[in-house]
Symmetry: C2
Subunit: 148 residues, 2 copies
DNA sequence: TATAACTGTAATCATATTCATTTCAGTTCA
DNA sequence: TGAACTGAAATGAATATGATTACAGTTATA
């Protein structure tokens, strides 16, 4: 899965685990270890979908706008990774049966594969991810205030 | 899906539709519109698995070694694309719960997604792909000798 | 109302990945 | 013996990805 997806999911999970706060792109950049500008770019996509709100200026930042239990990985996938599974075979030989029809054939097959993947991803909410992250034994920082 | 996979499937389909022939890397390169050296490189992987045989020297080339109905897209996926679905989030902040555990969490989720994808791909044999390619209306070159 | 702390966005640069291309050694057939 | 192949390494070009810089616009607050 591409890194825009993982960055988006990471950011949303971070926001879900800091309910009521305004998290700055710098704070999220520290957690994700990517550049703040990139955080703002990806979060801009989530804002356009209404999943988060952004506030400019002093004391600004990002905050979740939806119930983490109602936002699933398919929602994120649609924004950051749609079509990832589709085959990359641009221009084979049109004068050969195989060359002429391979792209359509594989696109059909992987179109269905992607539908199945999307259904699978719809089974995980950001809340689920947040719970999985917290359940993991490697770090249990209990000071974090969580809403669930 | 990455282009090694599509190149491998394209090549195998080509071989399946030319049973009994020795197809050269040049012939396959013409159908796929990629460089012959790359064809040989990818077909080398398939040869190592025993799916095809390669013959060096004059009148050499590649030929299918297995029943196209018994070779499925999961077999190819394993060789060319294993792990494609796994998330790319290398080194987040280990001092943050989210950063410390996101990779493991997403790897767990997408590990299952990949298993599901592999099951899906196992449902399509090279024979199926060859039939789909021939059924497609855009090119029906009937001179091609086929074994099924 | 001035300033500090933010987001939004464009532009540029560095790095990584992907592929084509060249080259050549080894193999096989005629 | 030479032409037609594969195998494999090495190089270079093109593309994709991500960091960085820069700056305009926004907002709280002292």
């Amino acid at each position: 899965m591409n890194s825009e997806f993982t960055l988006a999911v990471h950011s949303l999970t971070y926001l879900a685990l800091h309910p009521g706060w305004m998290a700055t792109s710098n704070a999220i950049a520290e957690s994700t270890a990517v550049h703040p500008v990139r955080v703002r770019k990806v979060l801009g996509l989530l804002r356009k979908q209404g999943y988060i709100a952004a506030k400019e200026g002093c004391a600004g930042g990002f905050i979740l706008q939806v119930d983490p239990g109602e936002l699933d990985l398919h929602d994120i996938y649609k924004i950051t990774s749609k079509g990832t599974l589709l085959p990359k075979c641009s221009s084979a030989n049109p004068d050969c049966v195989v060359g002429a029809n391979m792209k359509t054939t594989l696109t059909t097959i992987f179109g269905n594969a992607e539908k199945q993947l999307e259904t699978f991803l719809a089974g995980y909410s950001i809340k689920d991810v947040a719970l999985m992250v917290r359940q993991h034994p490697s770090k249990q920082i209990t000071e974090i205030v969580t809403g669930f």
